[in-house]
Symmetry: C2
């Protein structure tokens, strides 16, 4: 059911921290050949492995277009449900429902309006009509009533929540003229507080360097270790364009407090060494007018911060990069009670424009 | 998950009586214009009303093709989930999962092979590939492991189960050469026992007169009032071709006992007076080569036995027929603890080839 009166905040619902226990986790099967190279076959292999790893920790729901349904069903993976969810692409972090709890057993969700990362202004594909229905479909499967943000555009990857009243976003995404051009920063902040049941919104200026797909989503920049403690995408090399972005974010966060008045403890997580799209990779993508191209030599927006979270484990992207091992080490120190699962082949996900966090969406245990 | 070893019987699972408590009930949104007249719009009105009535008694899950999803979602009906299930037509009784329980909290299902009511031999539409995936999709949404009857063709409307070891079918359907032409009656009986966890299969010779769509499904002929007690489609007029079919079924059932050795108590439920497809109705159906036509003057296979069952209520088809009131009266006497809900406009469902039982499929409470 769509809820037509009130907001999550007025109704006592809020977005819990992703680290809180999950009921299950959703993922969408990748397909579109104008984004995923070689008919999405290399990406599908990586997604399948990720599904298998995640399903060791919690139930995984895989949303699939009809044309690939029988194929994915036929894998017959334990602890995995295969449901039909028509989609334009696989970024369920952004297109999926943002689930909310009330601490009393209730489960609801925000169904953000989605416009393909900027609509006709600077969106990266067209159309996005299937994607804009994904959240409703998840809610209907999960028996969760939903708040539809009619007209207010947002993506789940734009949001980090500590579950204790603090939400972190980036100005680069949330003030992007392709999203809500007629709203002020204050109005957007107010909407975020209402729909996420939050008290305070923090605004990191920019996302990571080269993140043209999302215009700088926060889920490449920071993730909570716990309330009051953050992992931050970092770059040591002062000559790298990422450096000033990381430094800017660090200084901003150090100058701020969270909703409970705490100063942040910040752990730096070094970004991978620069990675560039190869000729072969570029040529594997079907060129289509209106879809963001993947050009040879483009630097990809790699970030270990875009890891996944399941009950009892962290899913760390591995790029065959010199910083891979360090990422695992830092994550293990931050999450000592969780298994750190290295996910090989994360370059394939990155070639599509995001990473593990972008392609997963949790349903919290109510 | 598909279960690849064992059968429901070996694993202690069986099909409960439909009257046992439901978790929810599924229905598929009708669409195909070569079966439902006037672009399925009159049928959709009747389906919507039925959904609203059923949702007063238990959660209703509506499966919808992508192209009508936003429309059905927008109805925003309470206690109704709208999920995406691509389908070739709306007969979820036949294409859907047959759910099984073990009496210990377990829920599984049979995923029968479906071939469009007779495949290339005498099936009524082509293709049926979406329909053959419906059961798997239901199981994945309900987190129920499934037994796929690879190669063994059956439809849910071919089966009546008392939940105490007795299953009733018709020879006309189950021995139809379009289903399992290479199997003997004994082999088919054995499969039914294995997959339904049953002890005894009873074979009524024929279905009701004119049921060309299904070749005589049993769910137009009998329904359980309780174990040992049956409602039977009846015709008083000895000159009507239905008479000898009803009499034959009555005599057969009177000569038999159920799995527990009980003689049947049989209550007659008179079929509606003959109803014929009008010129206007026939012309409203898009004529398509390969789909069973709906010709002017054809007698329709009307039966009140094809009623629906939800927790606490019986959904009785109403055809604006002289026997409508009697049907309600008989059903109320048989089910004194249930509300009898008259469903107006059931002629629209019948024009498509079935009735309320054919378009619904329950999930029992495990």
């Amino acid at each position: 059911m769509r809820i037509n009166q009130g907001t999550p905040k007025t109704d006592g619902f809020y977005m819990p921290c992703e680290l809180a226990e999950h009921r299950c986790i959703y993922i969408l099967w990748p397909e579109r050949p104008d984004n995923w190279r070689n008919g999405a076959k290399p990406a599908q292999k990586v997604f399948k492995n990720l599904i298998e790893v995640m399903s060791k920790y919690e139930p995984v729901v895989v949303g699939v277009n009809q044309d690939q349904y029988a194929h994915v069903l036929g894998m017959n993976l334990p602890n995995v449900s295969v449901v039909e969810i028509s989609n334009n692409d696989s970024w369920i972090r952004d297109t999926g429902a943002t689930f909310l709890i009330d601490g009393k057993g209730g489960l609801r969700a925000v169904d953000w309006t989605f416009n393909g990362y900027g609509g006709l202004y600077n969106g990266i594909y067209f159309p996005w009509d299937y994607d804009d229905l994904i959240a409703a479909k998840m809610c209907n499967i999960e028996y969760a009533d939903r708040y539809r943000t009619e007209g207010f555009v947002m993506e789940g990857g734009s949001i980090a929540s500590d579950g204790e009243g603090t939400v972190i976003v980036t100005e680069e995404t949330c003030l992007d003229p392709g999203r809500n051009p007629d709203m002020t920063k204050e109005q957007i902040e107010e909407k975020l507080k209402e729909y996420l049941g939050a008290e305070k919104v923090l605004w990191i200026p920019r996302g990571i360097y080269g993140d043209e797909d999302t215009n700088g989503h926060v889920d490449n920049v920071v993730q909570f270790v716990a309330p009051g403690k953050l992992l931050l995408s970092w770059e040591d090399n002062e000559d790298d364009p990422q450096y000033e972005r990381s430094k800017e974010a660090l200084e901003y966060l150090q100058s701020e407090t969270d909703a409970k008045g705490r100063k942040f403890e910040i752990v730096k997580l070094h970004v991978p060494a620069p990675m560039y799209i190869t000729k072969e990779e570029s040529e594997g993508v079907d060129s289509v007018d209106g879809t963001l191209p993947r050009n040879e030599g483009d630097r990809m927006a790699g970030s270990y911060i875009n890891f996944g979270i399941v009950n009892g484990a962290i899913l760390c992207p591995q790029f065959d990069n010199e910083y891979d091992a360090e990422a695992i080490k830092v994550l293990q120190e931050c999450y000592p009670d969780r298994v750190i699962e290295p996910i090989a082949g994360a370059r394939e996900i990155l070639l599509g424009g995001g990473n593990i966090h972008c392609i997963t969406q949790q349903v919290p245990k109510p």
